[in-house]
Symmetry: C2
Subunit: 191 residues, 2 copies
């Protein structure tokens, strides 16, 4: 899947709406369809958590939310079960050529990944670098090691190339990231 | 903690508001404070999922939801990580004297519990029977076995007494349900 390069303001773009309006959502769609494939085939049960909201006005008569705002998530977007183990990941895509901008992930989400790694869960990131048309799994411990030891605003492209695991796209499942998880964590998954 | 017996309409009760307004939420509060104790002490990382909503009107300028309704959850309320394993449960309280009314749990939630049990996850219910001031862990497979083999509208009190595991309340953590999980699943947790 190839996207035009460069930064595009998705909201204000009306010209090539079909292409650009899909950009921010394409990784999420690919992961959701992959997760559906996994659950339909009883391979894994991994779901996206709903975005938390803060309700400001609620009408009890009609059981309708009249006003609400989004809240910053305190954990990652996806979690679930695979081969008896706890799986937890955040998925992001970026147009940046430098790598994955850390401004795109909240501090408490980083802390959550740190906790999951520390306590024996399988935590990772799925990052799509649109400028390179590549999607990577980056292990939670590699990610944490990097940001703990570098003053940086990005996880650089080099880290993905050297220590990431590229997910090759295919028809079904679209983005078979559990194949990578098998490769990395095979040992503990067999316990 | 003792509650007055009998069925009470929570919404319309204004007389003893302090007591009654806490009833529907007390189990949730107890579990949330227990989960906070677990994460503060790096024992487990278990969170309540936000209730899914369907946004009907959204103001992009102010990034505010103007109209939304709740959607039926397709999975259980709580999931997370404990000793490397995937933990998943639904928590409900009831005033019924007969047991836990199955009308209180959605079919797709039952199906989700079935899937988690089948694929090696640790799935269970935490049920508080207000009429008896008791809170039980009921293992997912015991729950599924019962509803598959009985035409019933309730999980009867007898099943909780015979095959459930009562959680004794204490100060901190308020509702130490992982102690029960250790007892039931200790074998696989040590793998």
């Amino acid at each position: 899947m190839k996207y035009p390069k460069g930064t595009v303001n998705i909201c204000n773009n009306t010209k090539n709406n079909t292409v650009f309006s899909n950009r921010g959502m394409s990784l999420e769609k690919d992961i959701n369809s992959t997760n559906k494939y996994y659950s339909d085939n009883s391979i894994a049960f991994i779901y996206k958590k709903p975005t938390p909201i803060k309700i400001l006005e609620f009408d009890r008569k009609t059981v309708t939310i009249k006003k609400a705002v989004f809240e910053a998530p305190s954990t990652t977007d996806y979690n679930g079960l695979y081969r008896g183990r706890y799986i937890d990941f955040e998925a992001k895509e970026t147009d940046s050529k430098e790598g994955f901008p850390l401004i795109n992930i909240h501090k408490h989400q980083i802390n959550h990944i740190r906790n999951i790694v520390k306590c024996g869960g399988i935590a990772f990131l799925i990052i799509r670098l649109n400028s390179y048309s590549k999607t990577f799994v980056l292990e939670g411990n590699v990610f944490i090691d990097y940001i703990d030891n570098n003053l940086c605003k990005y996880v650089p492209v080099e880290l993905f190339n050297n220590k990431g695991h590229e997910i090759m796209e295919k028809y079904a499942p679209r983005l078979d990231y559990l194949k990578i998880i098998d490769k990395i964590y095979g040992g503990i998954l067999d316990e």
